[in-house]
């Protein structure tokens, strides 16, 4: 009885061994393929590792570059911020300038308007006609004064006193000048100069200071010159002149000597050959009050053309 189970186990074992023997090559093949796969895998992993190491090196470089780039970025950002701030400040300044320009434009417009307005006013005030009228007036006055010089041989020159000069006194030499200078100061007339000297004019000077009649004094002095010339002009010694007080005439004589007088003091002597006299006195008429010979009326006479007098 005991041999049968043992045989059955043995057979089972045998069958199992056979089954195992059959499976062993398959398993060996699997193990080989697995080992091959593992080797391939290891090689692949090695390659990847190498690639990874290489990439890590690159990554380090890139990181360094990145840091540099970041630093540059920060710098650029800082610069940009500064520039932005500056730009904003400039924008504000430009806006302020624009506002100022607008304001100045308005001011300029106002000023231009005022300038035009003032220009118009000034051109009205300082018109050429005013210049012309002053010049015409002066020319007319000079023409009339020239008449006195030429026709009457009479010259007046203001300065330190007033100098009166006469020509046509001496028949032998009509161009010979006879002159005297009278000064009025502190209500006193003083004869500063008399050329040629005349005798017996103290009375005239006394009268001048007493009556204040300068105009008559001048006429009388001419007459004295003429008398002296007709007598042959005796030379006299220096004489003292009267200093009796008197009030001033209408025209003050303490004026500064006019420079223009020297120019107008020209020799306008006209000689004529015909000796016969043709002096004709015309009928006298009434003198208008406004045409008296006071300085004020002389101005009104000036305005009338050629100093015409109404007859």
């Amino acid at each position: 009885m005991d041999t049968k189970p043992e045989e059955s186990v043995r057979s089972k074992m045998e069958s199992l061994k056979l089954a195992c023997d059959r499976e062993i090559p398959a398993h060996l093949q699997k193990a080989d393929s697995a080992a091959a796969a593992l080797r391939e895998s290891l090689a692949s992993i090695r390659a990847r590792v190498q690639e990874t190491v290489h990439c890590q090196g690159k990554l380090g470089q890139v990181k360094a570059k990145l840091r540099e780039a970041e630093e540059e970025l920060f710098k650029a950002l800082a610069a940009k911020t500064r520039k932005e701030t500056k730009r904003m400040a400039m924008t504000d300044a430009i806006a302020a300038r624009k506002a100022r320009i607008d304001e100045l434009r308005r001011v300029v417009q106002d000023q231009r308007a005022k300038r035009d307005e003032y220009g118009a006013i000034l051109s009205q005030q300082f018109s050429e006609s005013e210049d012309r009228s002053i010049k015409d007036s002066k020319e007319e006055i000079e023409e009339v004064i020239s008449w006195y010089n030429k026709v009457l041989g009479f010259y007046i020159e203001g300065g330190h006193g007033v100098r009166f000069t006469f020509k046509n006194i001496n028949l032998k030499n009509p161009d010979e000048e006879f002159c005297f200078t009278v000064r009025h100061a502190n209500d006193v007339y003083t004869l500063i100069d008399c050329d040629p000297h005349l005798n017996e004019i103290k009375e005239l000077l006394d009268e001048l200071n007493r009556t204040n009649g300068l105009f008559k004094f001048v006429r009388d002095m001419r007459q004295r010159f003429q008398e002296a010339a007709s007598r042959g002009l005796p030379m006299v010694m220096h004489q003292e002149y009267s200093t009796i007080s008197g009030s001033a005439p209408a025209l003050s004589m303490s004026t500064v000597r006019s420079e223009s007088f020297a120019k107008s003091h020209e020799h306008h002597q006209v000689q004529h050959e015909k000796p016969d006299r043709q002096v004709k006195k015309l009928s006298p008429g009434k003198w208008n009050k406004s045409q008296s010979l006071s300085p004020g009326s002389a101005l009104s006479l000036r305005r009338s053309p050629r100093f015409k007098v109404k007859k």
């Binding site: 046509n168 209408a250 003198w287």
Partner: protein
């Protein structure tokens, strides 16, 4: 603005010049007045070939015309005849 400033300066100069011209004119008027007052004569310049004018007597307010043919008498005679009329 420069133009305005230039105008202002020009105006000031013109004003100064006008003032001087007026002063000169006033001086000339005073001188003319002295001539007329001393001689009592107002000349008439209408006819340059004749010596004409008016002798004014301020006291009587009378005016006397005179006329001299300048071609027929010498300047010396003309001058003294007129002075005689005003210096009686």
């Amino acid at each position: 603005m420069d133009d305005l400033e230039g105008q202002r300066v020009a105006v000031l100069e013109k004003k100064k010049m006008l003032k001087k011209q007026k002063q000169d004119e006033f001086r000339a008027q005073r001188k003319l007045s002295m001539y007329a007052s001393v001689t009592n004569i107002i000349p008439n310049l209408d006819d340059q070939s004749r010596v004409m004018g008016y002798i004014v007597d301020r006291d009587t307010k009378a005016v006397q015309n005179f006329e001299i043919d300048a071609e027929k008498v010498t300047a010396y005679e003309t001058c003294n005849s007129i002075w005689k009329m005003i210096t009686p």
